[in-house]
Assembly symmetry: C3
Homo-oligomer: 109 residues x 3
Amino acid sequence: MKMIIAVVQDKDSNRLQDALVDKNYRATKLATTGGFLKAGNTTFMIGVEDAQIDDVMEIIRENCKSRNQMVAPVSPMGGNADAYVPYPVEVEVGGATVFVLPVESFQQF
Amino acid sequence: MKMIIAVVQDKDSNRLQDALVDKNYRATKLATTGGFLKAGNTTFMIGVEDAQIDDVMEIIRENCKSRNQMVAPVSPMGGNADAYVPYPVEVEVGGATVFVLPVESFQQF
Amino acid sequence: MKMIIAVVQDKDSNRLQDALVDKNYRATKLATTGGFLKAGNTTFMIGVEDAQIDDVMEIIRENCKSRNQMVAPVSPMGGNADAYVPYPVEVEVGGATVFVLPVESFQQF
Ligand code: NI
Ligand code: NI
Ligand code: NI
C-alpha cells in the first residue's frame, strides 16, 4: 500500500477526480491555498495498492500533464492598453507534482 | 514516531477532535473538499509515538466507525412527492479510512 | 527525496512562504482548520532533496520559532472590566511542529 500525493492545477482537478472515480480509486482532495507556491492548485491524496501505482500515475499524467494552450486576446480593462495583446497567445497550463509515500498500515472502520 | 492520516465524516469530526484533545494527542484537521470522493469528509493528521498507535486507532474506531442510523422521514420539498418515504429509514453513517505513515524525524521549534 | 510537513501559526505563514520562495523550495500550503488542535494554523508540505533538509529546517526555525511578544493592553469590550489588564503583557507566539516523511518516488508531468 502506498499514498500518492498529487498537486495539480485547479482547472484539471475535476477531470482527474472523475477519472479516478471511474476506476474506483479512493482519493481525497485537500483544499490547498497555494500549490507549490503558485495559486490555484489542488492536492489529491490517493491510497493505492503497490500494483496500482503505474495506473494511477498514468491517469494523473493523462489528465494533468503540462501542455501549451492558445488563449484568446483579452480586451484591456481599466485603460491598461499597453498590456493588450490583440492576438491569441500560447501559455503553459496544467502540470502535476506527484509524491509516492510508503504506508506502514491501513485500516477501515 | 508515526503520522496517522484519518479521513472521517464531517459529522464525526468534532467528536473525534474532542476525544483526541482529552487524551493530549496532537492532531491537525485539514480542510477536505471531497473525502475519498464522497462529500463532507475531514482529514486528521495525527503525530504519535509508536506505542500510541493502538490507542489512537481505538479512539478513531469508537468515534467514527461505520454504523446504521434511523433517519426520520423528510417531507417532500419542491413537489417531488415520488421521492417521499413516509417512514424512518436506516442509513449507513460514519466510517474512517486510516493510513499510518512512517516518520523519519520530528522537530518542534 | 523527503516530504517535510510543517504546521505553523497563521501569523508566520506568509513570512515562511516568502522565505521558501526566495530559496526556490517547492511548497504547498494546506488549509488547516485547527492546527494541532489550536486554531489558526497553516500546514506546509515541502518536497526536498535529502541534502536540503537542514536548510529548510533552519528556514522554518528562523521564521516560525516559538518566542515571547509584548501585547498592548486591550480596552475592555462588553463591560468585562475584570479581564482588563492595563499594561502590556508578554505572550508566547509562533512555534512549528515539523515531520519529515520518507518519499519512495517523485514525478513531475
Ligand atoms: Ni467519468
Ligand atoms: Ni471531552
Ligand atoms: Ni522575500
